[in-house]
Symmetry: C2
């Protein structure tokens, strides 16, 4: 660790703490203290359960209660008892609250957009922001199981195919590869996991089964911005856990020498190389793991 690197990180911290507030001033400038604005924002983003909001924003129950009252008095939200448990309360926006929330969103979007517009190489800047955000927010990345035909999942898969096309000499064509059938990656036969970092998909993996004791791991992908923070490891662990819950006893996968990082990962996490088990034209190396 050179002192130069540390100086650069600290410069980043100084600038970012000073400027990000200014960048996302949507919270300010509408005459509402930060606390209320944060709660309004959380409710606008679909969080309705009061306890859930409290946990997310890390607020004391007393403070939370007062903030809710203040928003209620402003006519922006209304709270009703939870239908299944009258101790809990559920908050939702009134029409006035929805308008106020939309105003915050607009402000925020315009400001975010303006920031990019003022740069000559917005794509590079955006990629850098993704990289930094992924590194900073690594522990906030959560795996979510979803339908592989979901638009979010599809976006991951497209990125995966595009990358293979570049990595493999001679390109890559999904239709030539084995069985891109989604049904095999949905319960009860299989599963598909997407890694989400604040709603942005940064990786995925699929478990493809036929209902038997053997299943395959497919479509392991990590977004370029999220590489180097151990996400592939986390995705594989998630895939194994999903497979176990599906009753799978043996997991297999095929891969290619063009993806050396992947092979290194498999070998270091209990996978052993086995002979070819399919006639797919793309893979050249095969692995197995007993759960």
């Amino acid at each position: 660790m050179t002192s130069d690197a540390i100086a650069r990180i600290r410069r980043f911290n100084r600038i970012v703490t000073a400027e990000v507030g200014a960048l996302d001033t949507s919270f300010l400038g509408r005459g509402r203290p930060l606390g209320s604005a944060r709660v309004l924002n959380a409710i606008g983003h679909g969080q309705s359960d009061v306890t859930a909001i409290r946990e997310r924003l890390n607020l004391d129950s007393g403070l939370m209660s007062r903030l809710l009252r203040a928003l209620e008095e402003e006519g922006l939200i209304e709270t009703v008892p939870h239908p299944e448990d009258a101790r809990r309360r559920v908050a939702r926006l009134t029409p006035a609250g929805a308008a106020e929330f939309a105003a915050y969103e607009d402000l925020s979007n315009t400001q975010a957009g303006g920031f990019l517009d003022r740069h000559a190489r917005p794509d590079e800047l955006l990629a850098a922001m993704d990289l930094v955000a992924s590194a900073l927010g690594r522990h906030r990345i959560a795996l979510e199981e979803m339908d592989p035909r979901d638009p979010v999942a599809r976006a991951c898969l497209e990125a995966y195919y595009a990358e293979l096309a570049v990595r493999f000499e001679g390109g890559f064509d999904v239709k030539l590869s084995r069985d891109p059938d989604a049904a095999d990656m949905i319960r009860p036969r299989g599963a598909f996991l997407v890694a989400l970092s604040e709603e942005l998909a940064v990786g995925c993996v699929g478990v493809k089964g036929q209902g038997g004791a053997v299943a395959e791991v497919k479509r392991l992908w990590v977004s370029p911005a999220a590489r180097g923070i151990g996400l592939a490891h986390k995705l594989m662990a998630g895939a194994e856990e999903a497979a176990r819950s599906l009753g799978v006893e043996v997991l297999r996968l095929d891969t290619n020498k063009a993806l050396p990082e992947a092979q290194k990962l498999y070998r270091s996490t209990g996978w052993t190389e086995i002979p070819r088990f399919n006639d797919d034209p793309y893979p050249d190396t095969f692995f197995e793991k007993r759960l």
Copy 2:
């Protein structure tokens, strides 16, 4: 501006606001409120003039006064009247204050270092942080005149030469180029400007004169992380201003077709192409501007 880009910026904002505090917790964790810690930090970094600190941290005079008293009562600083103006006060660290400041610095450095260590590609991460910080902090970049032999200036020049070596077919050797004599870029004959973003050098430019009415602009360089935010423009404006203050009437410069961005900048800011005026082997295009 696609909605995807905006989502990504906002993800960055969310993560960064949540994590940077945690990243630079040096301010916290030592049982001192943020305000006092910031003041202590500013003094530790060499700011002694009370007014200067107040302006930098944007503090009310009353608040500032109280923060200083609190630090004084803790025995961390002492204040004395300014030797040249008894209305103003000067603050400095006591030995105890210096120790406390060092503790903050240590904490901060360890945390910054740990963040990089946890990433598989620290260089890339650092470059991304530089890029983002430069874009966010573009308006905080200040030009400072300094001796071209100063270590900070030298670092810029090394980077400049290294880049030319890559850009030019056949490389670049300073010794073959004309007159790398520093004295011509120091007042009263010339000037050398460095662009500083929070103490990090991100660009430079030199005005090389012989005491006459004609001078040359040399060594215009912008760090890769700071490109695309108009810094070259700012540096050239600074160079022209410095030249004017030196009594220069005509500025000249030589450049190369391998640097098309530079040529575009010159043409758009009042420079006109002129015939070759030296026998330096590297340049192939020549410009002039009457001040």
